[in-house]
Subunit: 347 residues, 2 copies
């Protein structure tokens, strides 16, 4: 199996280094042979080649069996709304070109981290949510433009039925293997694209009679996720709403630094932390690498079908937490200083 | 002063009845004379007249000094994506026709409710956020349409600079009178309308040198709001992002049932709870009327400039909570059964 490592920007390099080490240990322990290559994306790719997603990177991605991805982004562009070339374009183009229409984000709290969250332990205990975020449509890919000499700007929130259908089917199928509950999130009381989304969910629902479906508006969902996370099992939603809800849901897992995601579609899968490039802590060696480690577990599970190997990684994370080790972001007032580790030591 | 009461749908009628009673008590106590009228909106207006915002209602709104508003919505339409006439159209048309471009949503926890939230008390204590949600633009009012024989649907997320400027100025001015911090929320790493939004904030910022500005992406903001609500003072954002963030922020105030909002613009102001029509509890007499009561306080303060009267209402809410009375939504496991009140008793 051939794995492409794409560190990207900021802490991406630090955390994927650890993710890759874990894959190496797994290969040795379980007698697999993984080969690796590296490629550029985002700000580092712009600096080196002028493009946020060089052709060479895209070709290497297509040729790989799976991609271990870091993060993209750089504050320089955030403060310059007029920049024409931006790191995020590389990420979005990758998603589109590789047909990565389904972004899976499992949200599950490790027992040891019950106290690391801002939410009360009794609200969190037992929460276990699997998000399906649509990843190649919506306002991320619709037409956008300036009008009226730059004084007006628009973006287009757009969905076609086949795009909704393929992600909703994946979500229904996953719900079958879990708690048999599917929550679809939209804003159908206002948006036409949401009404189309809801129609598709309603049309498919009879094919999955064993799965109970509910619809929530995005505003209510953002509230309920915090108020009562246990009510959710599988959640399916569009690209923008999924972006917002899954970041918010990171508080259920104690920290953004714990959350992995899998982006899958018709071909190569891409595995990445849901956190960003975090330039404020880049190079300090304090980033939590566990989201990248858990992304490696998803890679083993989903792209390679290696369930035992994936479980071994999750168990390793669990046991390191049980022994009391923490990175700064998941430490609480009871963590003794000597148990607070940097990125490398945690790896 | 002439006040129009527009109960709308579901629990709207129950809670505005209490809001109006409170206005009456204030009038008596402070020697004012308020006159009242009523009008229809939403589902009840559709049933009675065929239109979700009858012309008569709009005329009465224009003629009033302020509007005390309930809620709109009905499950019937939510499950029928193809309905052409919908209660929410009445709400959106009202906002547009009355030029209510600024929706103020103060989020402040009454000390007594520290335990009612799913968030830890130590995270909440001292949180005090004032949201400015833009209310007459964005994807709520852009062109929307079905294409391709109904198989594709789009909505248009659109902003012009003058629309952003007028709400951002209001937010800057409010920040001046408070903690002097303004957080602008957008998705400028992807959306052109967000880049325009950010440009306007950056352009205006030098005019308010005493206010510190930060920009957050909506996904990060949704996370930070839960992780560390105290970091926020004034938040300004677009219509859609504001809808999501303020519902989420209701958890900071313990319950949706506590949150009031003011929608203001060039003329008549509209005051309403941020909660919806809640048909699941309609007619049971259990709805929390305090959001409507606090909306009445905002009405007195903002539309009539009656600060002492507004404070008297807030103090009354505070003291009723101090005595231990709760509606069901803000009760916790320590609330004795005899202290749990219905809508009327709480009023
Ligand atoms: C960096 C940004 C464009 C991206 C997104 O919004 O999709 C990120 O927030 C994510 O969730 O992967
Ligand atoms: C009912 C709905 C259209 C409305 C909105 O999205 O604006 C509501 O959620 C609100 O926040 O007032």
């Amino acid at each position: 199996k051939h794995i492409l490592v794409v560190p990207g920007d900021g802490i991406g390099a630090e955390v994927t280094t650890v993710g890759k080490q874990v894959l190496e240990v797994i290969a040795q322990k379980f007698g697999h042979e993984f080969t690796y290559d590296e490629a550029l994306i985002g700000h580092v790719a712009i600096e080196a080649t002028g493009s946020p997603l060089p052709d060479e990177t895209l070709e290497k991605m297509r040729a790989a069996d799976a991609v271990l991805f870091g993060a993209v982004g750089h504050p320089k562009y955030d403060n310059d709304p007029s920049a024409k070339v931006r790191p995020e374009q590389g990420l979005l183009k990758m998603r589109k070109e590789l047909g990565l229409y389904a972004n899976l984000r499992p949200i599950k709290l490790f027992d040891e981290l019950l106290e690391a969250s801002s939410i009360k332990p009794e609200i969190l205990r037992g929460a276990d949510i699997l998000f399906f975020r649509e990843l190649t449509g919506d306002v991320y890919f619709g037409k956008r433009e300036r009008l009226d000499e730059g004084n007006t700007a628009y973006d287009t929130m757009i969905y076609s039925k086949y795009e909704v259908e393929r992600i909703v089917r994946k979500a229904f199928e996953a719900a079958r293997t879990r708690g048999k509950k599917l929550c679809s999130v939209d804003k159908a009381n206002v948006l036409e694209s949401s009404r189309l989304w809801r129609e598709v969910v309603q049309t498919l629902s009879p094919e999955y009679p064993d799965v109970t479906v509910e619809h929530q508006f995005i505003d209510a969902a953002a509230m309920l996720l915090i108020k009562d996370p246990k009510r959710f099992d599988v959640v399916v939603t569009g690209n923008l709403f999924g972006d917002i809800l899954t970041d918010e849901a990171s508080q259920i897992a104690g920290s953004m630094g714990m959350l992995a995601s899998a982006s899958v579609g018709d071909n190569t899968g891409v595995y990445e932390p849901i956190h960003g490039s975090a330039h404020d802590i880049t190079g300090k060696g304090v980033a939590n690498p566990l989201a990248s480690v858990l992304s490696a577990a998803l890679l083993l599970d989903i792209s390679f079908g290696l369930k035992d190997e994936a479980q071994a990684v999750i168990d390793a994370v669990d046991s390191v937490l049980k022994v009391g080790f923490r990175t700064r972001d998941i430490a609480d007032q009871n963590t003794p200083a000597e148990k607070i580790l940097g990125t490398e030591a945690m790896g």
